[in-house]
Amino acid sequence: MKHRTTNKIAKSSATKVVSEILILADGKILAHNITPEMARVLTDLNPKDEAMSRRGQRENNFKHELPN
């Protein structure tokens, strides 16, 4: 029974776009599988986060960097 539930959840993530975040007690946010959309949200939440901002910028610029 547990397997079925796990499969159902995982199957839905195979066809949907999924990011996960974990907000710690001190307000720090951890994220994985960050999609471009999530990067924009995280940048909006903390514009001073240079690392995330660079990821957002990367996404904004990428159409100009291809093709080769």
Partner: protein, 289 residues
């Protein structure tokens, strides 16, 4: 007297796609005596037997999407995560799907290639095949490569626990190996990931990958493991692979079964992070974001 036909002086270089198609067939045949990873189970996956990874002959995937959380030089990446893994890392961030080869949806190479091509046309820089662990799904991964354009920059994201047999089929297929070096000693690898002889196997894979193409080594800093795991990893990289790109990741997330281990209940502390990055600088590692 034997008449030997002279070899042509110039041989047309076989395309990656064509080579991948041939190797995919060989890789699928190898499932009859599966030794793709260093567990060396030797089971016949084609007849339904399963080894430690529990994977069968067909592959499934639990995620396929454009992401920007990998190394800056790789993103945006179209990341295809295949279900199932040969390691059992208790802190796996995607444990439910990574440990379960039946998770997700059935993998159809041409359908995934279409999605990957669409992502490339929309501006993705790279296509990454990961897991779980993609090595256990080598036939499917190679089938996908056989359907992708030669110009596509392909990333092989691996736990570096594959065998020489698997590496032989992977040679020249991916532009970048993005390989984890998770544990700095065999005791931690055994306790946290059920992996034996871990350090030797990973080092062998990393040396091979470095000699055969572009390599990025990743280490996820784990709380309480800066001295026992990060230090030996960092020192080995500094000595044996000076200049190799290293991504030290400090965002440990107490996921999946991390709670089984007292030291893995929380993220790493600022003190541990400072120590780890300080050690990297001291050893002259080529850290990349």
């Amino acid at each position: 007297m034997t008449c030997v036909e002279p070899k042509p002086l110039f041989r047309t270089r076989q395309s990656r796609a064509s080579l991948a198609g041939e190797r995919a067939i060989r890789a699928r045949a190898m499932l009859a005596d599966c030794r793709l990873c260093e567990h060396n189970c030797g089971v016949n996956r084609l007849t339904g037997e399963t080894g430690l990874c529990h994977a069968g002959a067909d592959s499934r995937f639990f995620s396929a999407q454009v992401e920007v959380s990998d190394e800056l030089e790789l993103i945006p990446v179209f990341a295809v995560a295949l279900s199932g893994c040969d390691l059992r890392c208790d802190f796996c961030i995607t444990g439910a799907s990574s440990w379960n080869p039946r998770a997700g949806a059935g993998f159809v190479a041409w359908e995934m290639a279409e999605r990957a091509n669409a992502a490339l046309q929309d501006g993705a820089r790279t296509i990454m095949v990961l897991g779980g662990e993609p090595t256990i799904h080598l036939p499917s991964a190679l089938e996908l490569v056989s359907l992708l354009p030669e110009s596509a920059r392909l990333i092989w994201k691996t736990n570096a626990h594959g065998t020489a047999q698997a590496r032989e089929l992977l040679e020249g297929m991916f532009d970048v190996w993005l390989a984890d070096f998770k544990f700095g000693n065999n005791a931690c690898a055994q306790r946290l990931a059920k992996a034996s002889d871990y350090v030797r196997i990973v080092q062998e894979n990393l040396l091979w990958a470095d000699a055969h193409g572009e390599l990025i080594v990743r280490h996820l800093l784990m709380p309480g493991h800066a001295e026992c795991c990060w230090r030996p990893v960092a020192e080995w990289l500094a000595e044996h692979m000076p200049g190799v790109k290293v991504n030290l990741r400090a965002g440990f997330w107490p996921a999946w079964h991390a709670r089984r281990h007292a030291e893995l209940q929380l993220p790493t502390s600022p003190v541990e992070n400072d120590f780890a990055f300080g050690l990297a600088r001291e050893l002259g590692l080529n850290l990349i974001p």
